[in-house]
Amino acid sequence: MFDIAIQASGITKWFGEGEAKTVAVSDASFEARYGEMLYLVGPSGSGKTTLLSIISGILKPDAGNVLVDGSNLWNMTPNQLADFRLNRMGFVFQDYHLFSRLTTVENIAIPLILKKVNWDLAIKTALGYLEVVGLKDKANLPPVKLSGGEQQRVAIARAMVSQPDILVLDEPTASLDGETGREIVQFVKSHTLNEKRCIIIVTHDNRILEFADAIMHMEDGKITGTQRTVNEK
C-alpha cells in the first residue's frame, strides 16, 4: 500500500479573456504518493508550471479539487493556504530567487524565520543544511558570489531546511550542465526522500529521468499518461 500525498482531480485553468482565452490546464487528474519522486514532463507551454502552482496552493484553479492528506486545498482562506505552504511545502524556484543582500546562510534560514523560529537557532540549523549541501565555507558570502550550481544547492537547502513533506522543484536543472544537474537531483533524492515525503519535479531534462519513480506526461494542458517505475506494489 502507498499513502497518497496529493490527489488532484479535474483541474482546469484558463488564462486570458474573450478571444485570447486559452486553457493552460484541462481536466487534469493525478495523484502524487509519499515515498516517490514524481516527474512532470512535457513540451514548453504544456501547463506544467501552472499545474504545479495549483497543487501547491499558489494558483487557484477554475475547476477541480486538490486534496492534500484528505483536506481540500482550495477551500482554505489565503492565510490558511500561506500556513499550508509554510508548514508542508518546500519550493525550489526555477531562477532560485535568493536574496542578494543576505548571506547564503541567512537565505537558507528564511523558511524557519517565517515559522518564527528564533534567529540564532534558525541560523544554526541553516548552517547544518549548508554543510549537507557542501557549502559550509560559503556561509557568509552573498549568493551572487556563488556559481550557478552552488546557488541551486543553496535554493535546495532553503527548501529542505523546514523539513517539508512535499518538495516541489520547477526545472531545477535548467541552467546547470548535465553532470551538475544529475548530481543535484541525486542529492535531493537521497537526502530528502523517505516514505513520509514526496518530491515533485517539473523538467524537460532527459538526463535526470533515471532518478524518477514516476513520470507524468503533459501536452496541451492535458495529462497524457503516467508511468510508475518503482514503488508500484
Binding site: T49, I58, Q94, H97, F99, R101, E106, P111
Partner: protein, 378 residues
C-alpha cells in the same frame, strides 16, 4: 527583534546605495524644514523682545498697532482713564522711539530709546553696573549690554556721546532677557527726557502699561479700554499679535512657509521614489517569500519597519545637523536668530511621518499585488 524584521533590516541597510540615498533625502528635508522654522521662530521671538524686557502685564495701544517699534502715540486721556478703571493698581506711560547717536569716533549709530515713567521707572531693566537712581541725573542713559552693545563702541559708565544733538551720558549698564530683531543698541532713560530729546508728535505716549490689582481684573480692564476705542492686551496676547503680524502680514512668514513646503516636497519625492525603487527591486524576493508562506501582513510589517527606521534615523540626523549648524552659526554670529522649538520639532516629525506613510503606501500596495504564481513562472 522578530527574525522577519531582522531580515527586513538587513535587506535595507545592506543595500548601501539606496539606504544612503533614502537617508540623505529625509535628512535633507528635515534639515531644511527645521532650519527654516527655527530661523523664523528666532525672528519671532526677537520681534517681541521689548515686550518681554519691559515685562508689563497689560499693554494699552491703538488697535492698529502690531509691533512695538511702530506704535501709534496715545492721547494723555488714555492714561488718565486707565488710572480710573477699577482693578488697576497703577498705570504708567512708556515711550519707545529711535534716535541717532554720534559716537566719539565721529560715526553715527541708530539706537532705540525706551523712556520709563519718571515716577515709577516701571519696566526698568536689571543693572550689571551703576545705580538705577542715576537715571535721574543730567543727560543720563542706561545702555543695554546685548549683542548690539559693541556697536556703541563698548561704552563704559561716564562715557559721553551725542544723541540727536543733545548730550548723553552713560550712567549704568543693563542686561535684558531678549535681544531685539532690528540690530540696533538699546538705551533707557526717563520718559520726560526721552520726549524732550527725541522729536515727537503732539501725543507722546507709545503705550500705557498697566499693573492690575489682580489677574482676575484683567478681563474687566480690557473691556473698559475697549469701550474707549483702544486695545488692552496681556503680555502673551501682545506677543501673539506681533508674531501673527510677522507670520501673516509680512513676506517673511509666507516665504518661510513656502520653503518649508518645498523642503517637504523634495523630501517626499526623493524618499518616496527611492523607497519605491527599493521595493520594486526586491519585488520578486517578496513574491518568493509569499510563495514560501509569508502572509501579506508580514510583508507589510517588513516594509513599515524599513520605512519607519529610515525615517526616524533621517529625522534624527536632520535635527542634529540643523542644531549643529545653528550652534556653529551662533558661535560665529552673535546676532544669529534661530531657536529650535518643540513645536517645530513636532511639526518636522509630522512631516517626516507623512513622507513615511506615503512611501509605505505606494510600496505596500505594490507588494500586496504580487502574484506568487508570476514568481513561480519566472
Amino acid at each position: 527583534m522578530p527574525g522577519l524584521l531582522k531580515i527586513a533590516f538587513k535587506l535595507l541597510i545592506n543595500d548601501k546605495g539606496k539606504f544612503a540615498a533614502l537617508l540623505v533625502g529625509i535628512t535633507f528635508a528635515v534639515f531644511l524644514m527645521v532650519m527654516m522654522m527655527s530661523m523664523f521662530s528666532g525672528i519671532l521671538a526677537r520681534s517681541s523682545a521689548a515686550v518681554l524686557n519691559v515685562g508689563a502685564k497689560v499693554w494699552v495701544m491703538d488697535p492698529a498697532v502690531n509691533n512695538v517699534n511702530s506704535s501709534i502715540p496715545l492721547p494723555d486721556t488714555v492714561l488718565d482713564m486707565a488710572r480710573s478703571i477699577n482693578g488697576v493698581k497703577y498705570a504708567v506711560p512708556v515711550y519707545f522711539g529711535g534716535a541717532l547717536v554720534k559716537l566719539r569716533s565721529g560715526s553715527y549709530q541708530a539706537v532705540s530709546v525706551i523712556g520709563l515713567d519718571d515716577a515709577t521707572l516701571y519696566g526698568r531693566p536689571a543693572l550689571i553696573e551703576g545705580k538705577i537712581e542715576d537715571i535721574f541725573a543730567e543727560n543720563a542713559f542706561l545702555v543695554v549690554k546685548d549683542a548690539e552693545f559693541k556697536k556703541l563702541e563698548n561704552p563704559k559708565i561716564g562715557n559721553e556721546f551725542e544723541i540727536n544733538d543733545h548730550r548723553g551720558k552713560i550712567v549704568g549698564i543693563a542686561k535684558v532677557q531678549a535681544t531685539g530683531i532690528f540690530g540696533v543698541p538699546t538705551l533707557y532713560t526717563t520718559y520726560s527726557r526721552a520726549i524732550t530729546y527725541i522729536p515727537s508728535s503732539r501725543f507722546t505716549t507709545s503705550f500705557v502699561l498697566i499693573e492690575p490689582k489682580n489677574e482676575m481684573d484683567i478681563p474687566y480692564i480690557q473691556l473698559q479700554i475697549h469701550k474707549l476705542g483702544y486695545e488692552a492686551l496681556t503680555r502673551d496676547q501682545f506677543i501673539n499679535k506681533i508674531s501673527d503680524f510677522y507670520k501673516y502680514q509680512t513676506g517673511l512668514g509666507i516665504n518661510v512657509m513656502l520653503m518649508t513646503i518645498i523642503s517637504f516636497i523634495v523630501g517626499l519625492s526623493i524618499s518616496g521614489q527611492t523607497f519605491y525603487t527599493f521595493v520594486l527591486e526586491n519585488l520578486e524576493k517578496f513574491g518568493a517569500l509569499k510563495a514560501m508562506g509569508a502572509k501579506g501582513s508580514e510583508l507589510v510589517s517588513m516594509i513599515l519597519f524599513q520605512v519607519t527606521f529610515t525615517s526616524l534615523m533621517g529625522y534624527g540626523l536632520g535635527v542634529g545637523l540643523a542644531t549643529m549648524m545653528m550652534l556653529f552659526a551662533r558661535f560665529r554670529l552673535p546676532d544669529y536668530a534661530a531657536q529650535v522649538t518643540y513645536t517645530n520639532l513636532a511639526f518636522a516629525l509630522g512631516m517626516v511621518l507623512i513622507i513615511a506613510a506615503f512611501s509605505s503606501y505606494i510600496s505596500v500596495r505594490k507588494v500586496l499585488q504580487i502574484e506568487p504564481f508570476d514568481i513561480f513562472r519566472g
